[in-house]
């Protein structure tokens, strides 16, 4: 006991004397340039040693460094430009480091394009990012409207009350949604259940357009949208939010957690509800034939379904050692659909989603690491008969995914990523013959070589091989190159391939479509394949960013449904093809402090034509505009955001009988949003907004019309509970 005490005293003395002898103490404070508020959790790194410090709640840091004539420290914080400060012996105390906002976000770390973390500006694959700060600023209240507001060329319409995505000409089958890099089970008319995503719990969304099957396998033909969820990075954090809006919208969310030394935990919960409402046509529905127009005699109405959602997430991380870290995440979703019309009096649908993800990382040494991942995702659809209180499950989709990835820094300039994967999926659905369920599996090996040829030239190439239980082997290569012709400018070119394995539904369906016709699967289907060629040029400083992208996406062996001769049955066949061309332009500019304008434009020709008639509902031109302005006064921060989305007119032809087409016109439209928020000391934020500011409603709410009841309102209150416990060091 006594000896322990002596030992401890000795150790302390020793340490003290070491500091006394060799080190200098550097102290200072890190604040933000825009609002002059202290930045907590900024990292302060000494340039030559591995010593670092983290700022406290009030932005203060202190760092002990060996004495030298001159020293440099690097200060970085997410959302701000990294700054290097030179330290002279005379000036070591009370340093003030002012970090400038990273307005163009070119230093955001992205992972989707290469499966290894890289700053956006260095990624050879053009990646678009929506950060948690963007999500806060946009404050749309739902994942769907968040994507729709922010991305030109993306539109959600309603297919019998199921959201139906169109990303520059490609639908739900061709856009792969991932959460933390992992697949999501369950679909309805080829779209995932977007309520699996809690917008309050998103750290960032990474969007890579074009094929990317080399890294992500099946379905990554038109793009990958990877949603990275939040983690705890502080000893204590707790946020609460509530929202109310038109059409009975209510939301209550809470998230919080801890990170102490080796252990971290993060919990997020969201409950929300909204009412059904009616969309009333303003004009009579018309079908336009070559020599006549057929006009409905009554104005149609369409009921948009509300519902209730409960979304829970728990994440636990543990660092067993400096080399071995583990993370486990569990998710639960329960969604109730308030079925429209008379059906809603007897039937509501329940949707249950579960997932478990385990990520284990072993840093063998600084140059080599191994990651093992297991993902289970499960989705059930249940009919709930309200009067008799009976739940009846009629759909279960489950997938298990095992992956082992090795990252090896071969030389300073060459990184090799290789992986093996096993994916198995099972499905039982009311669309199969009574009692049937089916499964498929695939084994995968892939390799990617990331070669920094010179400081200005980066080359990433990859190859993937899949062996699927139904159709056998498939190869998917890709190559990306990035070249910086001059400072702040870059050119990117990508050739990538994509594929989509026929789904279990397409292989095995045997379903009577509401007594109208039979849909029959085909077990001999082959995968659809795509080739994307894309070129991007961009230029960016911290005030201006512009980029232009041109792409071609060529899809062959596309699956489609074909009628039999008797016109009573449809079959799946690999007989279709599609050639999509597109352009995307984007610009961001910050003409003065705290003000930013962002604009995007896309042109799409999805080549979906027959006899020269356009069959595609894709709007050829689409644009977004976003203006953010922040005003600071004392403890208050006022934010004003304006968003607009513009979509051009589209005329969609339908073949009624052999060579007789009628068309339906979907007029151009614009949707504006205005949102104002008032924040007090990072503690309380009260915001209010108007969606669809100019009260646009579709004249006819037919199949591909935008879904909006007109102008709607919301108010939102967020409380950052942990900020009330901030203590000065």
């Amino acid at each position: 006991m006594v000896s322990q005490r002596i030992c401890l005293t000795l150790m302390l003395l020793l340490q003290f004397s070491m500091v006394w002898a060799k080190d200098i103490q550097i102290t200072g404070r890190v604040i933000s340039k825009s609002d002059k508020t202290p930045l907590a959790y900024a990292s302060v790194m000494a340039e030559t040693t591995s010593t670092y410090a983290v700022t406290d709640f009030e932005g203060y840091f202190s760092l002990s460094l060996p004495e030298k004539e001159t020293l440099k420290i690097t200060v970085s914080h997410i959302g701000y430009l990294t700054q290097t400060v030179e330290i002279t012996p005379e000036n070591t105390e009370n340093l003030l480091v002012v970090l400038e906002d990273d307005l163009m976000m070119m230093n955001e770390i992205v992972i989707t394009g290469t499966r290894t973390p890289k700053p956006i500006k260095d990624s050879p694959v053009l990646t678009r990012v929506i950060t948690s700060r963007d999500i806060e600023k946009l404050n749309t209240g739902s994942f769907l409207s968040l994507l729709e507001t922010e991305l030109p060329g993306l539109e959600f319409t309603s297919n019998a009350n199921v959201p139906n995505i169109n990303l520059q000409g490609l639908g739900g089958n061709y856009v792969l949604f991932l959460i933390d890099g992992e697949r999501i089970a369950g679909e309805t008319r080829n779209n995932i259940d977007y309520e699996i995503l809690n917008p309050n719990n998103i750290e960032r969304i990474e969007i890579v357009k074009g094929s990317l099957s080399t890294l992500y396998g099946s379905n990554a033909m038109g793009g990958v949208i990877n949603i990275i969820t939040k983690k705890s990075s502080k000893p204590f954090h707790l946020d609460m939010t509530s929202r109310m809006g038109s059409n009975g919208e209510q939301q209550y969310g809470i998230s919080g957690g801890t990170k102490v030394k080796k252990f971290s935990s993060h919990t997020a919960a969201l409950w929300k509800t909204s009412d059904n409402y009616l969309l009333k046509d303003r004009e009579y529905f018309q079908r336009i034939y070559p020599d006549t127009v057929i006009t409905d005699k009554v104005l149609r109405t369409k009921e948009i379904e509300g519902g209730e959602v409960l979304n829970l997430e728990q994440k636990i991380g543990y660092a067993f050692s400096e080399k071995f870290t583990s993370e486990v995440k569990g998710n639960y979703l329960k969604r109730e659909r308030f079925n429209a019309g008379a059906e809603g009096t007897v039937l509501h649908n329940f949707y249950y989603g579960y997932s478990i993800l385990s990520k284990n990382n072993w840093k063998i040494n600084p140059n080599n690491q191994l990651e093992f991942t297991y993902n289970l995702s499960w989705y059930d659809k249940v009919n709930y008969y309200r009067i008799v209180d009976i739940e009846e499950k009629d759909y279960t989709n489950a997938l298990h995914n095992f992956r082992l990835v090795s990252n090896n820094q071969l030389t300073e300039k060459q990184l090799l990523t290789s992986g093996i994967e096993y994916l198995t999926e099972s499905l039982s659905t009311y669309m199969f013959s009574e009692g049937d369920d089916f499964s498929s599996d695939s084994y995968t090996a892939y390799i990617q070589h990331d070669y920094t040829v010179t400081d200005d030239l980066n080359l990433v190439s990859g190859l993937r091989w899949d062996k699927h239980s139904n159709y056998g082997g498939n190869l998917s290569p890709k190559i990306s190159v990035k070249y910086n012709p001059f400072r702040n400018a870059s050119l990117r070119a990508t050739y990538a391939t994509g594929f989509r394995s026929p789904s279990l539904k397409e292989l095995h369906t045997n379903w009577d479509h509401l007594g109208m016709f039979q849909i029959i699967g085909n077990p001999n289907l082959n995968p659809e394949k795509s080739q994307t060629f894309s070129v991007t040029a961009d230029y960016g400083t911290n005030k201006v960013y512009v980029s232009a992208n041109v792409f071609y996406n060529n899809i062959k062996d596309k699956l489609n449904l074909y009628w039999n001769a008797a016109n009573d049955t449809v079959y799946y066949r690999n007989a279709d093809k599609q050639f999509i061309r597109g352009v995307e332009l984007s610009a961001k500019v910050s003409p003065f402090d705290n003000f930013r304008i962002q604009a995007g434009y896309t042109f799409t020709d999805d080549g979906y034509k027959e006899n020269g008639k356009n069959l595609s509902p894709t709007r050829p031109h689409s644009a977004t505009l976003r203006m953010d302005y922040t005003l600071f006064s004392g403890n208050y921060k006022t934010f004003i955001g304006i968003n607009a989305k513009f979509l051009s007119k589209v005329e969609v032809y339908t073949e009624e009988e052999e060579n007789l087409y009628y068309k339906i016109i979907y007029p151009a439209y614009a949707m504006w949003r205005l949102h104002i928020s008032e924040q007090y000391k990072d503690k309380i934020t009260l915001s209010a907004g108007i969606n669809n500011l100019f009260d646009y409603t579709a004249p006819v709410n037919s199949f591909y019309a935008p879904v909006s009841p007109g102008r709607t309102y919301f108010v939102n209150l967020s409380i950052n509970v942990d900020s009330f416990f901030k203590t000065k060091q």
Binding site: G341, E343, T345, V346, Y385, I390, M516, D568
Partner: protein
């Protein structure tokens, strides 16, 4: 002192609310002896009709070949088609009148005249593709409670919320309202009907 005033004001206010709420609940006087009954009728069959008697409040078995000779039934159902015991359908004193009301409680008396008796109607007797089979059968054309629009798939059902007054085979009155065409397990054409039957033969409900 001030607290007491606030308390008194709050009490007063809540009293106003209370009385306001309770006055909402006042309904127009209706005969207390007549009760609203609800039945579910399985009218899914394309071939067969289901016969019902207001007097017994139950379905009744009727010889489908000679239904028009029976006075045991008052109303019959086939999908969204309705028969009353009158006109082409039977020798009874039936008939139907469409009110402009949407709640049973809003109809206090049966009209004296204006009842429509059964005639012939084209009804679907077999659902087969591509062309279903239709037949001319006796039915009531006035009781139009559900529209089925099959012009483009899937069929669109529109339930009319109107209250109908019908006469029974023996000439008594009932007011009826169709509340759903879906059964408890979402089966199309299990009909829910609410009705009030006046057994004393008067026109008052």
């Amino acid at each position: 002192m001030l607290h007491k005033q606030i308390l008194a004001a709050a009490l007063g206010l809540s009293l106003v609310f209370f009385t306001a709420c309770s006055s909402d609940d006042d309904k127009p006087e209706t005969s207390e002896t007549l009760e609203v009954k609800s039945v579910q009728i399985d009218a899914r069959s394309y071939e067969d009709w289901v016969y019902f008697s207001f007097e017994t409040g139950t379905e009744v078995t009727v010889d489908p070949e000679n239904f028009s000779e029976s006075l045991a039934w008052d109303i019959a159902f086939h999908r969204n088609d309705v028969r009353l015991n009158c006109g082409t359908s039977g020798d009874g004193l039936g008939g139907a009148f469409t009110t402009d009301k949407t709640a049973l409680s809003e109809v206090f008396t049966a009209p004296e005249t204006g009842y429509v008796v059964d005639a012939m109607k084209t009804i679907m007797t077999k659902f087969v593709l591509p062309q279903p089979i239709f037949e001319e059968q006796p039915a009531n054309l006035e009781v139009n409670w559900l529209d089925i629009d099959t012009s483009s798939p899937p069929p669109v059902y529109t339930l009319h919320n109107k209250v109908f007054v019908v006469k029974t085979a023996s000439g008594k009155y009932a007011k009826i309202k169709f509340t759903n065409y879906l059964g408890n397990m979402n089966e199309t054409m299990i009909i829910s009907m609410s009705y009030v039957y006046q057994p004393d033969g008067s026109r008052n409900f």
